[in-house]
């Protein structure tokens, strides 16, 4: 399966489908499998590229300090390896911060961007999560962190419990480390994007679940970016791609159609 190595750090990613490039950046504390519905769906029209951030999935568990800029450079290294000239970019939570940073820095590459969550500055309580991964370890805190990014109803449902459970299994089986996960939380909260957001020129869709802690931040982001579109999914939490794939995908398709970036369903060659 594909990896790129940049500065000695390996980043794992998967590809699915054929067509224009569509890059997916997962939220913490998931890996790329959080987008299983979207990869199955959008692979009909796009070459989907779903990246594991360092510390998650099969990417290296980096236990030294790094920042959001390093994660963005990892994403760019994957795009280079896959020969991507133009792409749609979607990210949730930490992924949405990378989306905003990359949308600002590389409008030549990313032609339409979707930020789910879209917080734009360090969260006041993020230090608690860093500490919790350090003191409780992966097995102590990963379950709590996962539960906090979905609604209670979803976590308690058979399907929700299964999906969260499979992510916990991956954490154990793939040897994800509490220290590496702590470093990732740190990277997600290392900068204030607000000063630069008014200069964002690419089309931006901000999505928040109604019960998403990032809703105030996402609302602010959507106001700071001219021509940004803001959509709220009723009754959903932070990981709304998983809780409501039908509603989530419909918003993405509508946004891409609005910007003439939704390919027709061609016959395969």
């Amino acid at each position: 399966m594909p990896y790129v190595t940049r500065d000695g750090v390996r980043t794992h990613y998967v590809t699915a489908g054929e067509g224009p490039a569509f890059v997916f950046l997962h939220p913490l504390p998931f890996d790329h499998t959080v987008y299983s519905y979207q990869l199955s769906h959008f692979s009909t029209w796009f070459k989907c590229i779903a990246i594991d951030f360092r510390g998650f999935g099969r990417s290296d568990a980096v236990t030294t300090k790094y920042g959001l800029g390093d994660l963005c450079d990892d994403v760019l290294a994957v795009c280079t390896a896959e020969g991507v000239k133009e792409a749609v970019l979607l990210g949730t939570s930490i992924g949405s911060k990378a989306v905003l940073q990359l949308g600002l820095d590389r409008p030549d590459l990313f032609k339409a961007v979707i930020a789910v969550g879209a917080g734009n500055k360090p969260a006041k309580d993020h230090g608690q999560r860093v500490e919790a991964y350090r003191t409780e370890g992966r097995d102590g805190f990963h379950p709590k962190h996962l539960a906090s990014v979905v609604t209670d109803e979803f976590a308690a449902s058979p399907l929700g419990a299964y999906l969260l459970g499979t992510m916990l299994e991956r954490g154990r089986a793939l040897g994800m480390s509490g220290e590496a996960m702590a470093r990732s939380v740190g990277a997600a909260h290392d900068r204030d994007l607000r000063p630069r957001l008014p200069s964002m020129s690419v089309p931006l869709l901000v999505i928040n679940g109604e019960h998403d802690n990032s809703l105030p931040g996402g609302t602010e982001t959507a106001k700071l970016v001219a021509n940004a579109r803001h959509e709220i999914l009723a009754d959903r939490g932070h990981a709304c791609c998983l809780e409501d794939p039908a509603g989530f995908d419909a918003l993405v398709i509508d946004f891409l159609t609005q910007h003439a970036m939704m390919p027709k369903t061609a016959s395969p060659a």
Partner: protein, 271 residues
Amino acid sequence: MPYSINNGVKTYYEVAGEGPPMVMLHGSTWDHTLWLYQMAHFSTWFRCIAPDVRCFGRSDKVTTAFTYQDVVADLIGVLEQEDVKGAILLGGSLGSRLSVSLAHAAPDRIAAAVVYGANTQASPDGKSDADKRRLERIRRYREGDLGEAYKWQLTRGLTDDFKASPLGQYIVEMVMEKVPWLNGPAIPNLYEAASKNDLQPLLREIQAPFLVVSGEHDNSLELARDTARRLANARHTVLKDTGQHCGLENPAGFDALVIEFLSEQGLMPKA
């Protein structure tokens, strides 16, 4: 994403994960999307390979007549290209027949299988219920609208509850969006080919352990139980409250059965 070519026919497949090989074979009508939960889950421990059977998904739509053995050869081509040995097979509906055929034709490549909708009966006189259903499918494709015929077949193995649910509608619609890829006249070729092939004489010769799962509301449940009885090394189990496509309707229950079975067989990789 990869293609394998067998006698000029392209088979598309997706790969996910690392570890021993696990090959997932969908039924007629669907494509590899049927296994979206299992690809995400089992890629934790296995290199998962999910082909689109000819006539479906991104694989070639073959409009000339072909045999069931041609379809088996397509899949052996994928196994050869991916250098697969000792694979776990997951098979649903037609995929369960293909699992039986692969375990028989290439025993060194197949370690074990979990199958559902495992009706392996052939009925040369066309009078069995299964045969009547097949003839009805063919009639719909040859005489009716492709989209309607496809949707009818797609939803037949699903419970009413699942079909009516937002998630069920989303998944069915996801597969329906690919109808423009399909060739109507090609699809009945697959049903004709499968119907001419009697698998039952092979069953007692297959040494690989099989778990035969039936959704409680699968109308081929008794036929699957019969399949399990005839296989040399198999057991049958029922998953409650689901239709035929139990991996899709109840991934938690189905995956748990797979993991339990593989653990019993010493085939579940250690963490």
